[in-house]
């Protein structure tokens, strides 16, 4: 007798349990699995729901609900400290996303043409830069900037210091890898004969890139850009290491607030961040799904897969 296709209740011993007993056991396991899943998801999402809920709390104390208000959003959007942190966040996330997308896409295109041994090395390095714990990247980039700047400053009399540019540079480290992976996946899933068909129809290599390859890659490039933006926008660890005076971003600001006690204003800022991030992720996911449907290819896991790898 062969084992059941889905041996939820473990292998069935010949002449052992009766069919009814197996069914009963299956039901128990199923109920337990369902309960377990519910608890896990509640644990994951309940805190977020509470933060969103309490951002509408009329009470000054963040933990006692007294009534509904949107005042905290108005207060947050008038708070000069919040606005400055928001500006910093954007001036980090946007250049970071643009540069990471450009470099990552170029690297993906280049790696296609490189001999296999070289490509394997670069692929490994890409994965490593994603897998390395954030705090290690944070520390190592800080050490690099600190020692590098002091060396250059001593030598040239310049006064280079930590700030927005150093945050951008540090964030790009892993964001380039993210874009690279997304575009590489798309490239390798691309039908090579499309390029040949374009050559066959009198299009030069450059025109073929512009009219065939680039439009095919665009969903991955857009997704990479949005992902790079959100990762940078909500990063705390690296930012806290390599930020300088006056370059606090929103996550840094929120963490500072928390130390002095959570206020509904903090909740409002966090909620706004949450929705900006979610919106961008949704757009990115749509871009990938649309691209996959158009080409008939399958983007395994899509952005969710990429995020799972990152976290």
């Amino acid at each position: 007798m062969s084992a059941p296709a889905i041996p939820v209740a473990g292998p069935v011993r010949a002449g052992g349990r009766t069919k009814a007993k197996v069914d009963h056991w299956n039901t128990v396991v199923e109920v337990w699995l369902r309960g377990h899943s519910t608890i896990v998801y509640a644990f994951l999402y309940l805190p977020i729901v509470i933060v969103v809920l309490f951002s509408f709390n009329a009470n000054r104390l963040a933990t006692i609900w007294t009534g509904f208000t949107v005042d905290w959003y108005a207060i947050a959007l008038k708070d000069e400290v919040v606005l400055s942190a928001l500006r910093n966040s954007f001036s980090v996330a946007l250049p970071n996303a643009i540069l990471a997308t450009l470099i990552g896409t170029a690297a993906a295109l280049g790696l296609q043409r490189v001999p296999k041994p070289v490509r394997i090395v670069f692929d490994a390095l890409t994965y490593v830069s994603i897998i390395v714990p954030e705090v290690v990247i944070a520390l190592s980039t800080l050490v690099l900037f600190a020692s590098g700047f002091s060396f250059i400053n001593d030598l040239t009399g310049l006064r280079l210091q930590l700030g927005v540019p150093t945050i951008v540079a540090a964030h790009m480290l892993f964001n380039i890898s993210i874009v690279l992976l997304l575009v590489r996946a798309r490239l390798s899933g691309m039908d090579r004969t499309l390029v040949e068909a374009s050559f066959d129809l009198y299009a030069s290599p450059w025109r073929t890139f512009r009219q065939i390859t680039f439009p095919q890659l665009l969903p991955a490039i857009v997704a990479g850009f949005l992902l790079a933006f959100t990762f940078s926008f909500d990063d705390y660890v690296i930012t806290s290491f390599v930020s300088g005076p006056g370059s606090s971003t929103l996550p840094i600001f929120i963490f500072g607030q928390v130390k002095r006690g959570v206020t509904p204003e903090t909740n409002a800022v966090a909620t706004m961040m949450l929705f900006v991030t979610l919106a961008l992720l949704a757009v990115g996911q749509l871009a990938l799904a649309r691209g996959a449907r158009r080409t008939g290819g399958v983007q395994e896991g899509g952005m969710a897969g990429m995020i799972a790898q990152q976290r």
Binding site: D191, E196, S198, D200, L201, Y202, A203, R207, I212
Partner: protein, 394 residues
């Protein structure tokens, strides 16, 4: 994005072709072309002229070098040795986008981010055709493949057969010197494939463009081609019309690849090179007179050969009613091993002592009645005319 603004760039290095200087040149001339991939020789010293306006098929099993030959004509591969001429011009080093040759790919290779009209007009846009001209010619091309009104459709919404026709229109619209087709019907189901075969043939006659078709399906090649080039191990085995290949296969490979034949081993005892007539003493005592099919063969007496006989040339008669031995006929005795009724014909497998197991086919419309009632184990006589004996040297 306006691509029509790009000026039409003439093909570089274009000189007066032989035909412009007068005289009919073949559309494709393959001169001693060899292609090696590492240690593997995909195409071995090929020599071939493709005449204007005809339907050519490369036929052979996978790995015989037929697709490699096609890719060399298209410009995707460069020959290791030898030279290819397109309309009289050598094309070594000329990239695919500068060759006036178009390809219909095996899996269509339609651009998924463009609609039908954009796909079909792609080649024209690269050459700087005006928008109005492009729209008009796209309309004509779609009409040619019976897809008028599909201009704005997405390619992935179309059925396999429709996608196939879009790919055809996209290639034909450019009026190439040669249209290359790489097993384009392979992905279609049998019924649609049969329809498309006839349609392709009709289309080729209508547009008058030279078609070079690659297939491993002998029936497909026989249906459509003016000339079939049978390939094996990178070499041309035989080149000729469908009837010629079937009636006069020059070697064992061609005889077995196109149709079925009954092989009888023997030694050549007589051969007249001027008429091709040969006499074979078979290993089990039969003396067969026939034609040495390869006109270039000069086999020495005693050479081991095969006599191949097509199944439909064999007559199976009950031993009790068999016609008496006659001049110009061979006959062997045997027993029916198996009789399979196949609708329009019946296939008999006859076990014979002196010619091994023989396969015979009888049309069911006529003559089958005489054999009715003959079942497995019954003694029969298998007879065939000398003209059915094909003596294969190689």
């Amino acid at each position: 994005m306006s691509l029509s603004a790009t000026p039409d760039t003439p093909l570089p290095g274009r000189r007066a072709t032989l035909s412009e200087r007068g005289g009919e040149t073949p559309d494709v001339d393959i001169v001693d072309v060899t292609k090696r991939f590492g240690d593997i020789t995909a195409v071995d010293a090929m020599r071939l002229s493709v005449a204007r306006g005809a339907f050519y098929s490369f036929l052979g099993p996978s790995g015989c070098g037929k697709t490699t030959t096609l890719r060399m004509i298209a410009g995707f591969e460069q020959p290791t040795a030898g030279e290819i001429y397109l309309a009289g011009e050598p094309v070594a080093g000329v990239p695919p986008y500068q060759r006036n040759v178009n390809t219909v790919f095996q899996h269509y290779a339609l651009f998924p981010h463009m609609n039908v009209a954009q796909n079909v007009g792609y080649g024209l846009r690269q050459r700087g055709t005006t928008k109005a001209d492009e729209a008009r010619r796209v309309g004509e091309a779609l009409e040619l493949v019976r897809l008028s009104g599909y201009e704005r459709r997405r390619t992935w919404e179309l059925s396999g057969g429709q996608q196939q026709r879009v790919a055809l229109a996209r290639a034909l619209i450019n009026q190439p010197t040669v249209l290359l087709l790489d097993e384009p019907l392979g992905a279609l189901d049998l019924k649609l494939r049969k329809e498309m075969q006839l349609e392709l043939k009709a289309l080729q006659q209508e547009v008058g463009i030279t078609f070079v078709y690659v297939t491993h399906d002998q029936e497909e090649a026989l249906t459509m081609s003016d000339t079939i080039i049978v390939m094996h191990h990178g070499r041309i085995q035989q080149q000729g019309g469908p009837a010629e290949l079937y009636e006069r296969p020059v070697n064992r490979f061609v005889a077995n690849f196109i149709g079925v034949s009954n092989p009888i081993d023997g030694k050549l005892v007589e051969h007249d090179p001027s008429t091709g007539r040969g006499v074979v003493q078979t290993d089990r005592g039969l003396r067969l007179t026939g034609l040495v099919t390869d006109p270039d063969a000069r086999p020495a007496p005693g050479t081991e050969v095969i006599v191949a006989v097509r199944p439909e040339r064999l007559q199976v008669e009950p031993a009790t009613h068999a016609a008496p031995p006659a001049d110009g006929w061979s006959s062997v005795e045997g027993r029916i091993h198996q009789g399979t009724y196949l609708g329009d014909h019946t296939e008999f497998r006859v076990a014979t002592d002196i010619a091994g197991e023989m396969v015979a086919r009888r049309q069911n419309a006529a003559g089958a009645a005489a054999i009715m009632g003959v079942g497995p184990g019954d003694p029969v006589v298998v007879r065939w005319e000398d003209s059915a004996n094909l003596i294969l040297v190689a």
